[in-house]
């Protein structure tokens, strides 16, 4: 392993209209190292990556690859030069099959034709080697985002890149899959592949990275060896304030709801074939019910039935004393059910519309097209939520697709808080959100429930679920196997036990 850097970026500057996303940033990547790029939402991490891979052209600065100056004009060119990237927003073609996605652009051929059989065989072998089990002939869209991420990563691995860039690859993976991924990364590092790793999970970063580069507001804070930078100092560098500001959320032992009160949501035998087995679940006002389980265990499917996003084919659902079976997203919203879906890009935001428009979408939809929200009221609402959720940049007229991932999530949250729902369903709301913002969102959930809002909270992070929830529904294999109620049961260990035993023990 030589110490000559494989990638060296110096003085990188990138301006977008009205925003300086990067300002004089240096970045050095050495062969065989795993290098974290850290920073708050909107710090410029993704932009730095995109400048390197030719998605964006820098306005100033130099890039050396293997000591030679380069400037890629397209991601394809970067890939040809040995830089493989998994972007934050998955960008595979999802109506193609898994195998086709893995080999797009380099399909095994038989004369002029694609050799589909060989392609499927190679795909299977590749995924087996990495340790994921998928039907390679199925369309990629039939798998969860997490699986789609893993497919994207596998593709990058197979190309045998010199440099592999992973922008928040783990944000939608569960524990086991994260282990698989980190394992793959270690193996690649031993082979000499240099990796850039972006993640808001500090544990993962400390577990796997050799060095880190910290950005704040588009400027370079510094570069450290992981061993030299304790976690609280890192947070201080990222946020520019003391880590102590991020005090933990303590649930005021959920005494604010009366146990015998009629539940707000009452699902009985609610289910949908092929998606989630019939389940019973109650949610009371002012209560946070967490949903825990492995990826693909049916957490999302469970909440989608209550949200009206999917139609239930069995059982009954009562909301606020009325039957709500067979409702759809519109009638659900009218009843006061808000649903933030997990995949904000495809199911949540309308990229071309502005931040303000995206925020008021649900409120406007509930009023119908004819009764437009008065401009003054709209501006006030939008401004207040931009401030409340600390959305950056605080520009309501910016197309939402230009926001960083974490800020997009906040816009989606604002959309639903605007309709003042009785039930707020959050599917992975803290995915891709920095430590500061994550604490903000958790605090918000605690606040809202204290004001009497019922919350259904899905998260892959078990400590987040245990910290916030009054009760926890545990899912396994598309079945709700147990609801943990007592304080003593609501620990990460108990959840894991329940998942493993399938709720039978105890």
């Amino acid at each position: 392993m030589s110490d000559d850097p494989i990638v060296q970026m110096t003085g990188i500057r990138k301006d977008f209209t009205g925003v300086r996303a990067l300002d004089g940033v240096d970045f050095t990547l050495r062969p065989g190292e795993i290098h974290a790029v850290m920073g708050e939402n909107g710090a410029g991490k993704s932009t730095l990556i995109k400048v390197l891979t030719g998605v964006h052209t820098p306005d100033a600065g130099d890039i050396l690859l293997d000591g030679k100056p380069v400037r890629f004009h397209s991601p394809g060119a970067a890939q040809a030069a040995g830089i493989s990237t998994v972007y934050q927003e998955v960008n595979l073609t999802d109506n193609l099959s898994v195998a086709e996605n893995l080999f797009a652009g380099r399909e095994p051929r038989l004369g002029p034709f694609i050799n589909f059989r060989a392609m499927r065989r190679k795909a299977k072998a590749l995924l087996d080697d990495i340790g994921i089990d998928l039907n390679v002939a199925a369309p990629l869209s039939s798998y969860s985002i997490a699986m789609q991420q893993l497919v994207a990563i596998s593709r990058a691995v197979d190309i045998e890149a010199k440099v592999l860039i992973l922008d928040e690859p783990t944000s939608s993976l569960d524990r086991d899959e994260v282990e698989v991924l980190l394992g793959v990364m270690r193996r690649l590092a031993e082979k000499g592949t240099a990796m850039v790793f972006i993640s808001h999970f500090l544990d993962q970063v400390y577990e796997i990275c050799d060095r880190m580069t910290v950005l704040r507001n588009g400027t370079l804070v510094g570069e450290w060896a992981t061993a030299d930078l304790p976690q609280n100092e890192l947070i201080g560098h990222m946020l520019g304030r003391e880590a102590a500001a991020l005090e933990q959320i303590e649930r005021a032992a959920a005494a604010h709801h009366v146990a015998d009160e009629e539940p707000l949501v009452k699902a009985q035998g609610l289910g949908r074939k092929g998606s989630i087995a019939p389940y019973d679940l109650d949610v009371r006002r002012g209560e946070v019910v967490g949903l825990a389980g492995l990826l693909g265990s049916g957490r999302t499917e469970t909440v989608r039935l209550i949200a009206g996003a999917d139609r239930a084919d069995s059982g009954s659902l009562t909301f606020d004393g009325q039957s709500a079976r067979g409702h759809n997203p519109r009638t659900a919203a009218a009843r006061g059910i808000a649903f933030c879906p997990e995949n904000r890009k495809t199911e949540g935001l309308v990229g071309d519309l502005t931040v303000a428009e995206n925020m008021i979408l649900a409120l406007q939809a509930s009023r119908g097209w004819a009764r437009s929200i008065p401009v003054a009221r709209r501006d006030k609402l939008v401004a207040s939520f931009i401030e409340k959720l600390d959305i950056r940049p605080a520009n309501p007229d910016m197309p939402v697709k230009n926001l960083s991932g974490g800020n997009q999530q906040k816009v989606l949250l604002a959309r639903w808080m605007l309709i003042q729902p009785k039930l707020l369903i959050l599917d992975e709301p803290t995915r891709g959100i920095d430590v500061g913002a994550k604490a903000d969102i958790q605090r918000l959930v605690a606040e809202l429930s204290a004001e009497g809002m019922a919350v259904l909270f899905v998260s892959a992070e078990l400590d987040e679920v245990t910290r916030l929830s009054d009760r926890i529904a545990v899912l396994r294999d598309r079945e709700l196997v147990a609801v943990l109620e007592s304080e003593a049961d609501m620990t990460t260990e108990r959840i894991v036990d329940t998942i493993v035993s399938g709720g039978r023990a105890s």
């Binding site: 301006d15 495809t346 519309l353 097209w369 004819a370 009764r371 437009s372 959309r415």
Partner: protein, 349 residues
């Protein structure tokens, strides 16, 4: 410069260039309206008058395209609208009766609106792809128009007030220009004063996210196709009134393609989402002006299609950020040293 102004910039520049070419070749009279018999005339006013039917159709098309759809049936609906009105008028004993003309117009408009709504129902409720759903009527519509006219070309007497719709003037301005302008204003108000425009853009920009946000996308889709059908019917009436007849086979032929062209020139993407009614209007005037320009610069009229294609090509290129970056690079200032560019620094902050 805001997003709208930016989108409009290139089409406006192209239009100005075209007008300049015409002024150079035929003199300033090209643009300055003349007044004879108390009505405005002159080359440019005539272009606007002639373009009115295309503008009506292109405006409806803009809304449809904003929802990620397309309406290929507008030419056929144009023919149906023209056929219904003309046939009703020639079937009556007194073609000059105002009541008759009004009811003929009203019935034609109702029928074309229903046809448009049918397209919308097929797209929104039956889930048929817009291009297929409207292709059905594109083919069948002309047959329906022929059935209405019995295979003939009904000719309305010049004395019938119906012809005023195409030939008349009000306050010196030709009636077709009035109608087109009123529809433009009405649609602009309908979409931008209410939330319809934003919801349309949302449905076109991301249908699934819109559904989950609780937007009634089906109702909105039907409404938009209805408006598009209505606009096409109105365009047919103006066209027929101008000619004094309804030709089921040739009336409004290829107008759907010109309309799509105008929408694209005007900056609305065929992928749906953001739409620009004003851009479409400029696109229509560009297409109309182009036809005159070809004659005025001395090319034979066979050049028409080629010239149109070239203009579309140029506009499409200018609207592509990739091309603009490449094309304008040699003209861009080199990144200036901070000391010499304080203004730039200030903007970035």
């Amino acid at each position: 410069m805001n997003a709208y102004a930016k989108r409009l910039m290139w089409p406006v520049l192209i239009l100005v260039a075209l007008i300049a070419v015409n002024i150079i070749t035929t003199g300033i009279d090209f643009i300055v309206p003349s007044v004879n018999d108390d009505r405005l005339g002159g080359a440019f006013v005539n272009i606007l008058r002639r373009s009115a039917p295309l503008l009506l159709i292109a405006l409806g098309m803009t809304l449809v395209i904003a929802t990620k759809g397309i309406d290929l049936s507008v030419g056929a609906v144009y023919a149906i609208g023209a056929a219904i009105a003309c046939q009703m008028i020639i079937d009556s004993s007194d073609q000059t009766a105002a009541g008759l003309v009004f009811s003929a117009i009203a019935i034609a408009l109702v029928v074309t609106a229903v046809i448009g709504a049918w397209n919308g129902v097929m797209v929104a409720y039956f889930g048929i792809q817009p291009i297929v759903a409207t292709l059905i009527l594109m083919i069948a519509g002309r047959g329906i128009a022929q059935l209405i006219t019995g295979g003939q070309i009904p000719k309305v007497q010049d004395a019938s007030p119906f012809t005023e719709l195409g030939r008349g003037a009000f306050l010196t301005v030709p009636i077709p220009i009035w109608i087109a302008a009123l529809v433009l204003v009405a649609l602009a108000l309908l979409t931008r004063r209410t939330a319809l425009g934003m919801l349309l853009e949302s449905v076109g920009g991301n249908p699934e996210a819109s559904r989950l946000a609780g937007i009634r996308s089906k109702g909105i889709t039907v409404l938009v196709y209805l408006v598009c059908g209505l606009c096409a019917g109105l365009a047919g009436l103006i066209g027929a009134a101008n000619l004094g007849s309804a030709d089921a086979n040739n009336g409004g032929q290829w107008i759907e393609l010109d309309a799509i062209l105008a929408v694209v020139i005007g900056g609305t993407a065929l992928l749906g989402g953001r739409f620009f009614l004003l851009g479409t209007t400029i696109g229509v005037v560009i297409i109309g002006t182009l036809e005159d320009t070809i004659i005025n610069v001395g090319l034979s009229s066979q050049w028409q299609f080629t010239a149109k294609a070239i203009v579309v090509f140029v506009v499409a290129l200018l609207q592509s950020p990739e091309f603009r970056g490449w094309f304008l690079k040699p003209f861009k200032r080199k990144p200036a040293a901070p000391a010499t560019a304080p203004a730039e620094e200030a903007v970035a902050k």
